[in-house]
């Protein structure tokens, strides 16, 4: 009996995905894959570098904190990824299905072209018939397989009584194939198998690019969603604690919420006293005191001290369910938006059909046989089929999205870029959007530099949000920590330690300073020596960004849920007007009023309270630090502390729209030349093949110019 067989009755493994944003190099891959499996409970770990996530298979006895601990011990921060939000458009073909269709049609196109070239170079008689039959043999299964995305979508559109781009495509391909089979059977000279398959190939490339773009952004967004799959430490009846997933939380359970942790459910405080940061929920920047019996909400951040909270509502019953309902209503407007290619198709499709019918009727009247007339009508259909519309728009948009992704902007789909190009008003949330949304030490300059190493040493020892802020700010200044011993952290107060045998503390200010303001006090030998104040700072380039917005012809205004005293300094610094103290409904109403006045509104916000407004805006953006609701509701997400990516996105969107319009102009120009030729009956399969590939190459080449548009 060897080792393998003894291990054979393997207990069922649980598979989970973790987002690990810090995977940067090959070293990280080997460190994670080899380091994680050293924990006996983790059986396998596989890094996906592109999506910055790790797939872990572990035994049932490894709970979430243990798994996260395994990542932390390797020096990585991991976020569990829950089930992603379900695809809204369930009927749309997946990327993998499309890539298969592209491969099949590409293979078929090349082989049919090989046969067609020999026909065009003068094969006659039996050879030509043989080649046509072979082409048919390859083309028919290909069209049946690779054409499905178009046939399905065209059928859906027709059933609902409207038409889209896929209708002329489907009719063109089907007619061309049917006629070519007839030609082949009657020993005719012209078969359009190559045109039909080539058309499918080019259009599938466009579809595939579109879906790659959506997948890539969706992967990025899922990796950013932190709150999903989180949970809480639940205190059992016997006083023991165990980790419970957010979805398993039940009303009545008591959860232990540490300082610096986000609440996983609504509840009432039953033990302890703390301050709660509501900024993601209401936009309020000042933390709120919370005592026993005070209600607290899911998604808010516990700042000061650990508390016990009795769960009153979990999951879909939480206070944010209300916001979710508002969002559902608000997003209806967006789903009514018709993408530019479909808008063009509304004009284009009837024109194409009209032209083909006119050609058929015209040649019938002129005395040609129905066979010749039909051949010319099919040539018109093929020549006018919207290659440029199907390929040029996605090609331009994926190039633009790729360039923006390098700048830290995730675009969720092509329609977001189209809507972004139209906006002329920006409504911006304050907390977390114009500001960083996290405390920043505001008076470091007033504190004697000799205290910096000690401050850093003490701050490093704590996970408290203010300590974390202080650590970040001091590290950024290149401060090195002092040597301290016997560190002790007291929840609700702060950190105490020994420094050169003298007792030092960093914690909640004592005496008169203990107001609502965020501050930490450093004491040496029990004597306060420095008071570090914290405030939410403006993003470093907010002033330039607002200026650049104005230069782009976009007027901005602040829409905040915060108090007027907190908003006024920001509004003054940026020279913007502001509306304050707004509820989610108020924000929604403000957007409604602005849109009603004929403006296209860009909503930029981060909080739960911005969710409905983000869903209602003509376009919307959220910073990477936003609440999950905010990130899910917005069209674009920008990373980092700078606000300039917002302006970059608008510029890029406008540039993309310009390229798309140029491509349309090119397509129309090409039709102006080609359609009369088709009408005259001069378009043979050879001419159609050259025209189609030529025009596709030109529009793709034009789209590629966007690559350098932001330089």
């Amino acid at each position: 009996m060897n080792v393998m067989t003894r291990l054979a009755p393997e207990p069922a493994l649980i598979e989970r995905d973790f987002a690990v944003p810090d995977i940067r190099c090959a070293g990280c891959i080997s460190k994670l894959e080899q380091g994680l499996v050293r924990d006996a409970r983790i059986r396998s770990a596989r890094v996906n570098f592109t999506e910055k996530r790790v797939h872990v298979a572990h035994t049932a006895d490894a709970d979430m904190p243990a798994l996260l601990g395994a990542f932390t011990s390797l020096g990585f921060e991991a976020h569990p990824i829950g089930e992603g939000p379900k695809d809204v458009d369930g009927e749309a073909a997946s990327s993998q299905e499309l890539v298969r269709a592209v491969a099949v049609s590409g293979f078929a196109m090349m082989n049919i072209m090989l046969l067609s070239v020999s026909v065009w170079s003068g094969a006659t008689g039996v050879t030509r018939d043989l080649f046509h039959w072979l082409s048919a043999l390859i083309a028919l299964p290909t069209i049946a397989y690779a054409g499905r995305p178009f046939f399905r979508s065209a059928w859906r559109a027709l059933r609902h009584g409207h038409t889209n781009m896929d209708v002329p495509i489907s009719i063109g391909v089907t007619l061309a194939t049917a006629l070519s089979i007839y030609e082949t059977a009657t020993h005719g000279a012209h078969a359009y198998f190559d045109s039909a398959v080539m058309l499918l190939f080019f259009l599938l490339c466009g579809r595939w690019l579109d879906s790659v773009m959506r997948d890539r952004a969706r992967g990025g967004v899922t990796a950013l969603l932190r709150n999903m799959g989180t949970g809480a430490m639940v205190v059992g009846a016997d006083g023991s604690t165990h980790w419970t997933d957010a979805t398993q939380l039940q009303p009545g359970m008591v959860m232990l919420v540490a300082a610096g942790e986000r609440l996983a459910a609504d509840g009432v405080i039953v033990q302890g006293r703390t301050r709660i940061d509501l900024s993601l929920l209401t936009g309020e920047s000042a933390p709120q005191d919370a005592d026993i019996d005070d209600p607290v909400h899911a998604g808010t951040l516990n700042i000061d001290a650990p508390v016990r909270v009795r769960v009153t509502a979990a999951g879909t019953d939480t206070a944010i369910a209300d916001i979710a309902r508002l969002m559902g209503e608000a997003s209806q407007g967006k789903s009514r938006y018709v993408r530019i290619a479909d808008r063009a198709a509304r004009l284009y499709a009837p024109a194409v059909h009209g032209l083909a019918i006119t050609a058929f009727a015209g040649w019938m009247v002129a005395g040609a046989g129905w066979h010749e007339a039909l051949l010319i009508a099919v040539a018109v259909l093929i020549i006018t089929c919207p290659c440029a519309l199907g390929l040029a728009v996605p090609a331009a948009q994926i190039v633009a999205a790729g360039a923006l992704m390098k700048r830290g902007v995730l675009i969720k789909d092509g329609s977001a870029l189209e809507r972004m190009a139209e906006i002329d008003r920006a409504l911006i949330d304050k907390t977390g959007t114009l500001t960083l949304g996290r405390p920043v030490a505001s008076n470091l300059a007033e504190i004697a530099r000799e205290h910096y190493p000690l401050l850093l040493a003490l701050a490093q020892m704590s996970r408290h949000p203010l300590s974390a802020a202080l650590t970040r700010d001091l590290t950024a200044q290149g401060v090195h920590a002092a040597q301290i011993d016997e560190v002790q952290e007291t929840p609700g107060f702060g950190v105490a330690a020994l420094w050169n045998h003298r007792p030092v503390t960093l914690g909640r200010p004592q005496g008169h300073e203990a107001g609502s303001e965020l501050a930490s006090e450093l004491s040496i030998d029990g004597q306060p020596v420095a008071l570090v104040r914290f405030a939410d700072a403006l993003r470093p380039d907010a002033v330039q960004a607002i200026g650049a917005l104005r230069a782009e012809g976009v007027d901005a205004m602040i829409l905040s849920g915060d108090r007027i005293e907190a908003v006024a300094p920001v509004a003054r610094a940026l020279g913007l007007t502001a509306m304050t103290g707004l509820s989610p409904q108020d924000k929604l109403a403000a957007i409604g009023r602005t849109s009603g006045a004929g403006h296209k509104v860009l909503m930029i916000g981060d909080g739960l309270n911005d969710g409905p407004a983000l869903a209602a805006g003509h376009a919307s953006m959220a910073p990477g630090s936003a609440s999950d609701v905010g990130k899910n509701a917005s069209d674009c997400i920008f990373m980092g502390d700078r606000l300039m990516p917002v302006v970059d996105t608008i510029r890029m969107a406008k540039r993309t729209q310009a390229i798309v319009r140029q491509n349309f102009a090119l397509a129309i120009g090409y039709n102006v030349v080609a359609v009369p030729l088709a009408f005259a009956g001069l378009v043979t399969p050879l001419v159609a093949a050259i025209a189609m590939s030529g025009s596709s190459l030109i529009v793709v080449g034009n789209a590629l110019r966007l690559k350098g548009a932001l330089k």
Binding site: C25, A26, I29, S30, E33, Q34, V47, N48, F49, T50, E51, Q96, V99, R100, A103, V104, F107, M110, N111, L114, T127, L130, L134, I138
Partner: protein, 54 residues
């Protein structure tokens, strides 16, 4: 003509072979992590050799 009858099936089956290989590689997830694949060549396979890294 006889040459064609031999060569065309050969050409088609070679093409089909390529198509099959592509399908197989998509199915196996070889395109799921393009950037990672480029980096994995730098990773040492044997887990015991950690200390040997400079």
């Amino acid at each position: 003509m006889n040459g064609l009858l031999l060569l065309i099936p050969i050409a088609l089956s070679l093409g089909l072979l390529g198509l099959g290989a592509f399908f197989w590689s998509v199915q196996g997830g070889q395109y799921d992590d393009m950037d990672g694949a480029a980096l994995r060549i730098l990773v040492d396979d044997d887990a015991g050799a950690d200390g040997a890294l400079p």
